[in-house]
């Protein structure tokens, strides 16, 4: 539980995600070390770094799939996962956490589509049961989203009948169905065969500019084309926070250079 006295909520409404000295431990492992960060509206931020550097943990703490040990995380100026009472932080009720998560889209490395539901059912599940959207409306929205990710003809296909790239595109449509202003992508193409990576990245590029995006990915082509900022993380810290151009032409830190030389070959 975060224990410091909470500062006043941010008033800058353009700041969508704000980390204030966030710390997180897995037993003795200090996975997030005093992380502070601001992401502005419609920014596309790509997180890179070696495995175990804390980038997925950072992303997952934004919708409280990971708890934090100290510090504050705000989304749209509202503290995530905790509330303040008498100068102390308490974990939010399940209902309020769910309400906060509904505003934040998330795409997973392993897709995590619901295998017992077909594509359209996967997409309408949350709008109907969380937002209580009437079924015809939810279906109309879902069909539009499926068309948008290029899968209008896969409407009644079950996840197992779709390729990895198609599953991930359905998963993106599923997240978009909740009309989030913020989307989190946790290594969305790492589990895909090389020939399917492009189709997923194309969908993501199209979303860039329409919404705030945080993307954990080593796809440098995507970062170059779509990212406004790149964060390089190592050992639980943000080592470098810069633009793609700067990072590729003129990385400041030795660790960044060493890492880039490994992934860019």
């Amino acid at each position: 539980m975060a224990s410091l006295a909470a500062p006043k909520t941010t008033v800058d409404t353009d700041v969508v995600v704000k980390f204030d000295k966030v710390n997180k431990y897995f037993a003795d492992l200090h996975v997030l070390q005093d992380v502070s960060l601001e992401v502005r509206k419609n920014e596309v931020v790509v997180l890179i770094g070696p495995s175990g550097s804390g980038k997925s943990t950072l992303l997952r703490s934004i919708n409280h799939l990971e708890t934090i040990n100290s510090g504050y995380i705000y989304v749209y100026g509202r503290m995530i996962g905790y509330y303040e009472k008498n100068g102390e932080l308490h974990e939010e009720s399940e209902k309020n956490i769910a309400r906060q998560r509904a505003e934040i889209g998330m795409v997973f490395q392993r897709f995590n589509l619901f295998p017992h539901l077909n594509a359209i059912e996967n997409i309408i599940e949350a709008p109907m049961n969380v937002r209580h959207t009437p079924r015809p409306q939810a279906i109309a929205d879902a069909e539009r989203l499926l068309a948008r990710v290029g899968l209008a003809d896969k409407r009644n296909h079950y996840p197992r009948q779709l390729s990895g790239g198609q599953q991930q595109r359905v998963a993106i449509a599923r997240a978009l169905a909740m009309k989030p202003g913020l989307m989190l992508f946790d290594e969305p193409t790492s589990a895909l065969d090389p020939e399917m990576i492009g189709e997923v990245l194309d969908v993501m590029k199209e979303l860039a500019g329409e919404m705030t995006m945080l993307v954990v990915s080593h796809e440098m082509g995507f970062a170059r084309a779509a990212a406004d900022r790149i964060l390089f993380m190592d050992e639980g810290k943000i080592i470098e926070d810069t633009t793609p151009d700067e990072l590729f032409t003129n990385p400041r830190e030795e660790r960044t250079k060493a890492f880039l030389s490994k992934i860019l070959h």
Partner: protein
Amino acid sequence: MYHFDWPLFWKYLWPGTALANPLIRNGLIVTIAVSVIAQALGVVLGLFAALGKMSKFTPLRWLGDAYPGVPILVEISTFNPIRWLADAYIWYFRGTPLLVQMSLLFFGLGVTHIYDFPDIHFWFMTISGAIQAGTLALGVNEGAYMAEIVRAGIEAIDVGQMEAAKSLGMSFAQAMRRIVLPQALKVIIPPLGNEFNNMMKTTSIMVVISAADLFYGYTQVNATIFKPFELFIDASLYYLALTTVWTYIQARIEAGLGERKTEIKTVGMFQRVFAKGGH
């Protein structure tokens, strides 16, 4: 040399003659009905016990937060009453004989007049107190076993499913009901079928509280004509028929589960159970 009474053996085996005896006819109905109801009760209790074991409810957590320096309070603060209840339930009902549980429930509650298990008159039939107590004991006992089966089913589902559901704003209960449990059902159904098979045989111990099931019917016939060898072979063959038919039904159900959902045609229950070959 024992003289095997063939005519009697056939009389109490052949359904046309055996089921003419109301003790055996009603006993067979009771055995099937009690099995189904007790198993259903077991599934419901097992589901609650499994969820109880997974509960993260610690109402005394504030004690540890308020007095982090006092070890006993920190220890108490992790107490989870729901999990404790589920654990105690499973521990007791798996750790003691069903025969004893059933006797305790029926005779024990009866003698103390906590509950006398009066007969229930319902529509055209009468459900005896012994049958009520027997069904209850079987179901509560079964729940303790179903709890582990349900829990294993839930735990077989990738945690990513729960995370995906939560990331979409679903509550734990919603995610369980709509996403995890429907998938866990596929894992739960095969062992559930085996449990039901056991249940049909285990109902026979209700004879200890004189609940009029199939076995009781045969013991009553035996009490008048004393032919235990012939009659109990007949009784065993009736149980064998029940479990064999069920094994066949179970195989059909599991075959249906394995099919791709999109390929399942709308066939009636009868066709599904008894149709020869694939659909």
